[in-house]
């Protein structure tokens, strides 16, 4: 078998080389395409005085959807705004820190999530422009402005949105389980707080349609419980107190109860493999619902479920805030002044109202609440629920939360362990230990 081969080897080998190169080069090109061209950094004005402002953000800020960058270009013909979006905030933030450390690659405007703002004001405030001189801090809901204020008094971020929490529920499933579907009646049932919410869940479970669950995820409920309290994971002096914090304990115990009574489907929220299909199939009866979550539900549950959902007030007397971001201007930028003007414009009432209309994230600027686009806003998908009214009311009772530098990591770690209790049946003690071990490592 080996001797005959050599006769044709010469021609064959050349063909082999050709074929191999022919096949590999496109593969390499394909993989090469993924490396991005690095054009996101701040650059100065060109010869004609035209300025390109770069805005780096994550997830969905809604400016493109609301057409605001194009509008800004119309108002200021010499300014073009370019947005550089990172889908996942968990990837965006380490990159931002690296850029802050090296002082290069930063955009003119950078988005910062609420779970990170404390770490930024504590450690990186010097790298950002004091926006207190550009924007009027009094326009914002008070706690939002406080979150972005550094110890030195500098305001390093302008609030883009807040996440007042309501309760989204599936009227179709409620009806089948023999529960009231009217907004006021549902609100009355859970008015006493999250314990009442669980009682409603047990009531639901008794007559629930097969394969459906009262809630999507107990970790979402945990998050809602914690963030409706002023004292969360840290105390005022900046010491982590999450192990003793009453709100964390209450939330954890409720989550453990949900897991043991199987009131939730145990999904990881936003997971495209499980959570999104569950919404489409309509197996979830309630979702703890910040303003932006309503948009998530309507987008993921799809047209087929239109009119099957409604929105009412969240359990308890104080409302929770979930999420919300800031826009900050790095000092190292080449167009600091113009960037400040852009931030002021983007976070002004009219523009926040436009974003609310486009993608449903709720304004943090109080001035926006009286604008008709917000005040009279109704969501057709949710039986014309008067969301402008509901969320503005909720926003009034949000407590002034004490934030900590590692809030985001703590929340994520506890969420993972709550999912373990739901999915794997991990005992609450074991899950709590795993959570505290991981959190102590994160804080340490």
């Amino acid at each position: 078998m080996r001797i005959t081969r050599t006769v044709v080897a010469g021609r064959r080998r050349r063909a082999a080389v050709l074929a191999t190169t022919g096949l590999t080069i496109p593969a390499l090109l394909l993989t090469g395409c993924s490396s991005d061209s690095d054009t996101s950094g701040s650059t100065g004005p060109d010869a004609n005085g035209n300025i390109t402002l770069t805005v780096a953000d994550f997830g969905q800020f809604g400016y493109k959807e609301a057409g605001l960058f194009a509008k800004y270009h119309e108002l200021h013909p010499n300014i073009t705004v370019k947005e550089d979006v990172t889908a996942d905030e968990k990837i965006y933030y380490p990159k931002l820190l690296q850029q802050l450390n090296s002082g290069s690659g930063l955009a003119d405007v950078q988005g910062i999530e609420v779970g990170r703002i404390k770490e930024i004001t504590d450690t990186k405030a010097d790298s950002f422009v004091d926006l207190g001189k550009v924007i009027d801090v009094g326009d914002w809901v008070s706690w939002k402005a406080k979150q972005a204020t550094a110890p030195s008094g500098a305001v390093i971020g302008a609030g883009t949105d807040i996440g007042p929490m309501s309760l989204c529920y599936n009227t179709d499933l409620f009806k089948k389980a023999g529960l009231p579907t009217d907004r006021a009646e549902v609100a009355k049932k859970v008015a006493g707080g999250w314990e009442d919410y669980l009682k409603l869940g047990e009531e639901y479970k008794k007559k629930a349609p097969a394969g459906t669950y009262f809630m999507d995820s107990a970790s979402a409920m945990f998050n809602a419980v914690v963030s409706s309290n002023a004292k969360q994971y840290y105390d005022e002096s900046g010491k982590p107190v999450y192990k003793e914090s009453p709100s964390v304990q209450q939330g954890w115990n409720l989550a453990a109860e949900v897991a043991s009574k199987k009131l939730s489907q145990g999904l990881a929220q936003f997971d495209t493999n499980t959570w999104v299909p569950a919404l489409r199939k309509g197996t979830i009866a309630t979702v703890a619902c910040p303003a932006w979550m309503a948009g998530q539900i309507s987008a993921n549950a799809g047209e087929g479920n239109k009119g099957k959902w409604d929105i009412t007030t969240a359990p308890g007397a104080t409302a929770a805030n979930w999420g919300g971001s800031f826009l900050a201007v790095p000092k190292s930028g080449k167009n600091v002044e113009e960037a400040g003007k852009l931030v002021k414009w983007l976070t002004a009432p009219e523009q926040q109202a436009a974003v609310f209309k486009a993608i449903g994230v709720f304004p943090s600027n109080k001035g926006a609440y009286d604008l008709p686009d917000v005040k009279n806003a109704k969501l057709p998908y949710f039986n014309d629920a008067p969301i402008g009214q509901i969320y503005a009311d909720e926003a009034k009772s949000i407590p002034e939360a004490v934030l900590g530098p590692k809030d985001g990591v703590i929340k994520d770690t506890i969420s993972t362990q709550i999912t373990n209790m739901e999915q794997r049946g991990t005992s609450p003690d074991k899950a709590w230990k795993a959570a505290t071990d991981a959190i102590d490592k994160a804080i340490g």
Binding site: A16, A19, T24, A27, L28, T31, L97, S415, R424, G444
Partner: protein, 332 residues
């Protein structure tokens, strides 16, 4: 190769600079000195670029990582370094998650390397036969190697998806198919091993194929004259001739599996990917390092993990060397 390359000494005139030689004109001695200097120094000049690049991008980062491992450095303040000595090593060695990651790395390493090399050997043997369109098959075998980790991992993530994944869909025809692959301790490791096997088997097969073609044909002729069957030829002729190549692929695969990163990170992606699953069930050392440094922002312990990985690799290399020596001795 080195022995067959003639050096200049082979045809150069006898050294003129020796003290016993009669005095020649100064110009000539200078030239012959230059000649000798060129002879001795130029090889170093030829290999210098590699060492310069290695020093800048290999050695310096390695040592600096070691320096960081002895300090408290936070992602939020890279310019503030606080000396802590061995504390970071102490921290990771007392962290249960670190040992989980070590165990996972080894398990996935074994689960991916062993089948991969066995299959590669078999594939190489098949490719060594006279086949129609053999170049095509050889190219096909290599294509997985040319795809990027990210795209391979993302496609396999779809295959192993719990809800509506390709594999579960196929399994449901035989009455199985409720497996949450990424969630299980063993199933997640299997899933990752499959990605690794898929990507690297062809690469190793081609290396084996090259080595097989270097085996002298008369060995096979002699064996077949002695009445050895195909299988006996494979076992008694091919495998022993391939021994150095097999050792090489084992070393390369071991290093590769120690650095396993993209596949576990992207199997589920996002928050779960960064901690290697909700119970760290498929967290490898590289993922642990990444999570410690980039998600939690503590670069000191992350650097310590990097050095721990180096130590583990050295241990493995030592074991490999001992085993290799033993095998060579017993083969004689």
């Amino acid at each position: 190769m080195a022995t067959s390359t003639p050096t200049r000494d082979a045809y150069a005139p006898p050294p003129g600079g020796s003290p016993h030689a009669p005095a020649r004109s100064g110009r000539q001695t200078w030239r012959s000195r230059l000649w000798r200097f060129d002879d001795k120094a130029s090889p170093y000049a030829y290999i210098a670029p590699f060492f310069l690049v290695f020093g800048a991008f290999g050695l310096y980062p390695l040592l600096y990582t070691g320096w960081i491992a002895l300090h408290r450095v936070e992602m939020t303040g890279l310019n503030q370094m606080e000396w802590v000595g061995w504390e970071n090593f102490d921290k990771i060695l007392h962290d249960a998650e670190f040992w989980t990651a070590v165990a996972n790395t080894f398990l996935i390493g074994v689960m991916s390397t062993v089948p991969q090399l066995l299959v590669a050997l078999g594939l190489a043997h098949l490719l060594n036969y006279r086949l129609r369109a053999s170049t095509f098959w050889r190219t096909v075998v290599l294509t997985p190697y040319a795809t990027s980790v990210a795209s391979a991992a993302l496609v396999f993530a779809l295959v192993f998806r719990a809800d509506g994944g390709l594999l579960n869909w196929l399994l449901h025809f035989v009455g199985l198919g409720d497996t949450n692959w990424a969630n299980g301790h063993w199933t997640s490791k299997i899933a990752i091993s499959v990605i690794v096997i898929w990507r690297w088997t062809g690469y190793n097969a081609l290396i084996y194929l090259a080595a097989m073609q270097a085996v002298p044909a008369d060995l096979y002729e002699a064996a077949s004259l002695d009445g050895a069957s195909r299988w006996q030829q494979f076992r008694k002729v091919t495998i022993p001739s391939l021994r150095p190549t097999i050792l090489f692929t084992i070393v390369i695969s071991t290093i590769g599996s120690m650095q396993l990163f993209g596949e576990p990170l992207l199997l589920e992606g996002g928050r779960l990917g960064a901690t290697g699953g909700n119970e760290n069930q498929y967290e490898t050392l590289s993922v642990y390092l990444y999570n410690y440094g980039w998600n939690l922002g503590h670069l000191g312990p992350a650097a310590a993990v990097a050095w721990a990985m180096l130590a583990l690799l050295l241990i493995i290399a030592a074991v490999n060397w001992l085993v290799g020596r033993f095998v060579r001795k017993s083969a004689v």
